[in-house]
Each structure stands twice: as C-alpha cells, then as structure tokens.
Amino acid sequence: MSEALPTVAPPASGQEPAIDLDLARVSVRELNLDLQARESGRVRVHSPAGRHNLAVGLRGAVRVEILGHAGYYCAGMNEHAHVRIEGNAGVGVAENMMSGRVEVMRSTSQSAGASAHGGLLVVHGDAAARAAISLKGADVVVRGSVGHLAAFMGQSGRLVVCGDAGEALGDSLYEATLFIRGSVAGLGADCVEKEMRPAHVAELADLLEAASIDDVSAEDFRRYGSARTLYHFNSEHAGHY
C-alpha cells in the first residue's frame, strides 16, 4: 500500500507545454514505457481508437490526456498521475488505482474503478454495471447514473452518483459509503439507507468540489451503507447471500 498522497490538482487546460504521442505511430507498449518513465509533465495521446491498457501502471505525477475513446483497463494501477480521457472508457477504467486522479469526460463501461485503493475517479457521463466494485478506499464520483451492482462488496472509500443507481446497489457491502442523488432501483443484500447528517453533507460537498462538479447540491443526496449483518457467516442469514 502506498503512503497517502494529495490528489493531483485538476488541470487548468493549455497552460503547460505538452508532448504529443500518436498511437497510429507508436505501440501501446511504447506509450506505456514512455509514460511510466516520467515523473512530471504533460502528454497528449492521439488516436486511442479504443485500444486497451492505455496509460497503465503510471507512478509519477504526469498529466496524460487521451484524445478520444479508450478500451479496457485504461489508467489501471495508477499512482500519482492525472489521466484525463476525453471520450468514453471501456471495462475497468482506473482499476486498482492507488492514488492520483482519473477523469472520464464521457461514459464508461462496467467495473469502473474496480478495487481502487486510493485517488479519485470522476466520470462525467454514466458508468455501467459494477461501478466501484470491491472498492478499497478510492473515491468514485459519477455525474450521471450507474448500472446494477454498483459498489458490490465495497470495503472502504466513497461512491457518489449524481444520477440514478441500478439494481442491487451496495450488495454485500463492507465499509464503503455511497451517496446517491437520484432513484435507486433496488438495494443489494445488507445495504441500507443511513441518515445524512450535516457532517456527511460537508464531506460530500468537498468531494464534489474536488471532482469539479458544481451543478448539484450535496443537500440533495441520500447516504447508504452496510447494515453489518453479513460480516460473518450465520446460517440464519443464508438466504441473504
């Protein structure tokens, strides 16, 4: 586990000179080796064309802008870097992120932020099924809606959904906190609504600000968490698993 590090500040676009890399000319492996070697700076990635595994395993505070749609596992295992995807992202964006910031300007496929330990994932569109599955400490903020099984087995961290949540929200949840602004199609096993106290509103307002989302009010969200009845197997609860 890496030491706690502050989230990289959101970009003030255009102020820093960028290096341009074009995936029509360099391979994904060459791109990743280049990015992994950087400790700072700004890189623009052209022609992503839905390729998989872009900008994975980054460990420096580099800023990467992916100018189009990314495939599977974009920005996986990210540490310290700020990866911004101008289009959509495929399965498992920012999976197992440790720190840093990953921002998707449109929507994502399923398992966005899966198992992420730290850092911030912001999805400006919708995230599909299994968003923030097995969340382990990161913050995931979705401006739109999420599909079914969001935050399944979430252990710690926060999921914020400004739109609606699908079926089985927070199924088998441990200690992750869920803030949902819209409707919830259904709660998963052991997930319950909890009181939204002033401290939670303040905490959520900070998180929305960090995600640069300023068109929704923290007051409008409901909070969900674990009822903590399924932590240990109990045969009386067999039907709930």
Binding site: G68, G71, A129
Partner: protein, 296 residues
C-alpha cells in the same frame, strides 16, 4: 470469449463497402476469437418465387458435380461454400444432399437475402478465402469464436441459421443447453452439433415458428436460457441485439447518419468512417435493441 460485430448501412456509400467495413471490424476482434470466423451478409434479393441457399462442404468437393443433381437457377462457388438460387425449399435440397456420396454438404442459410459464410481458422485467412472485402450489402453480422464448451469445427461456428433470413451469433456460454436441446428436439427442432449457441438459435427458431415476433422470442431468452450471452440476430432488414440480465458479456453500439454498428468492443467500431463523431452507448442488460424492419 468471442467477438461479435454487426453493421447496418443507411447510405449507399456504406453498402458499397459493407464487406470491407465488416472485415476491418472482425480484424479488431481476432484476439477474441482465434478458432473460427463467420459472417452473415444480406444482399442481392432473390427473384420472386426463388430463394437463396448457402451450402457448405466439410471437405474438398467439385461444386459442379455436387450441384448437378440439384434443381437450381444459378450457382456461385466461393471456396468451401456455394450460393444456390433455387425454387426448391431448403428441406428438399437437404434431402438431395443427404442422399449423395462424398464429403457432407450442408445448407447453412436460407432466405431471400441472407448468405452465411463460416469456417474454422484465423480471421485473416478465412475472410480472404470467402472474399468478404469485395462484398456489398445492406447489413451484415459476424463472429470470431474462442471455443469454450464444444469442438472447433466449421459446423460449430457461428452464425447459426434460425430460419428464413434469420441467424444468430453469440458471445457467452449457456448452462442449460443440454436439457433445452432435448425439449426442442421433442418439438421437432433439428440440431447438427452439441454446441450451446446452436441451442439458442434453435430456441429462437422454435419460438418464431410458434408465432412469436422476434422481439417476443428474444424476450423469452431472458427466462428460458440460463447462462451468459450477448446475442446479435441478423434479420432480412436489419439486426437485433440482446444482452443477458446481468450483462456478463460486453457490447457497444454506435450510430451515425450513415450506419448503425454493434461490436463486443469499441475498437472494432473505431475502424468505421465517422466513428469519432458517432452516438455511442452500451446496451442495457435484458433489453432488446433492433434496427431495420424486424419481422412481426
């Protein structure tokens, strides 16, 4: 894992290059399916009173000899496949083919516009053999297979015909296919392999025969099929897409003024002209999407 792709043309400029576009899409899905490749392409409607049958030979055959015994108006040989224009039904042709000696020859598609070409082998080799890039058409679906539950042969390859001008491609695996196959056999549906996807095709064929619309038949899958699936169904005028209720298998859809496309992964759609500006979305689980005229 398998790869599936569908492309529906709204403009002559896309129809002219339909085969080329589908070949590019399937090329991106080659890693998802190295075992076999298949396409269903819809083009050149049969003259009134006649129908098109695609035949596939399991070994080396001389198509002139094979078809000399068959009633036909026209025949075009495409390597291991031959396209027959005939006034006879698929059943009549199958009976005649079954009576001959030599490598088995099967009817793999029947209808007014459908043609199915499929074969075990790599994407690049198979598409080269069937000459997909040169084909024009109104719409097409394709499949690259990574076998998980039954043998790698052309007979086990997708698309599977599900009736006149209908076919199915499948990414996923079904767990209740053995029991369902027996049930469908009792209803008179015939199967050629032990493949799970062929059971899904047979199920659709049976539901349609019983009077369901395609949409109803696909909705029936949600309760009667147990397992994982993303289906693409080719119809005379378009195609339909269905994902299982928990969305186990991927699918992406995109639309522009020129075309509608679906694929297992976006990278297969990124190859199409204008893809960067397409409306793009992930189909919701358990919901039927369709383009073109879906038969009632």
């Amino acid at each position: 894992m398998c790869g599936i792709a569908g492309l529906y043309s709204k403009q002559p400029s896309v129809s002219e290059h339909l085969g080329e576009h589908l070949a590019e899409m399937l090329g991106q899905l080659a890693e998802r399916g190295p075992d076999s490749v298949g396409v269903a392409i819809y083009r050149h409607p049969a003259t009134p009173g006649a129908r098109k049958l695609t035949l596939h030979a399991a070994g080396e055959v001389d198509w002139g000899t094979v078809t000399s015994e068959l009633p036909y108006l026209r025949v075009d040989a495409h390597g291991s496949h031959a396209l027959l224009l005939t006034e006879a039904s698929a059943e009549e042709i199958e009976a005649l083919l079954g009576a001959r000696d030599g490598p088995p020859v099967r009817v793999v598609s029947a209808g007014s516009t459908i043609e199915i070409y499929k074969q075990a082998g790599s994407v690049s080799d198979v598409l080269e053999q069937i000459g997909l890039r040169a084909m024009r058409g109104s719409h097409a679906i394709g499949h690259t297979r990574m076998a998980t539950e039954s043998r790698v042969t052309t007979e086990h390859s997708h698309p599977f015909s599900t009736g006149l001008d209908l076919c199915l491609v499948h990414n996923g695996s079904l767990s209740n296919h053995n029991r369902l196959r027996e049930r469908l056999r009792a209803e008179g549906v015939r199967f050629q392999t032990d493949n799970d996807s062929e059971v899904a095709a047979g199920y659709l064929m049976w539901r349609l025969r019983e009077g369901d619309t395609l949409e109803q038949a696909l909705e029936g899958c949600l309760s009667d099929l147990d397992g994982f699936y993303t289906f693409a169904v080719g119809t005379a005028d378009g195609f339909a897409v269905l994902r299982d209720p928990i969305a186990c298998k991927p699918a992406v859809m995109a639309e522009t003024d020129e075309w509608v496309a679906m694929a297992s992964e976006y990278r297969a759609i990124a190859m199409l002209p204008g893809a960067a500006d397409a409306t793009l979305w992930e189909p919701e689980p358990g919901r039927v999407y369709s383009w073109g005229g879906v038969p009632a």
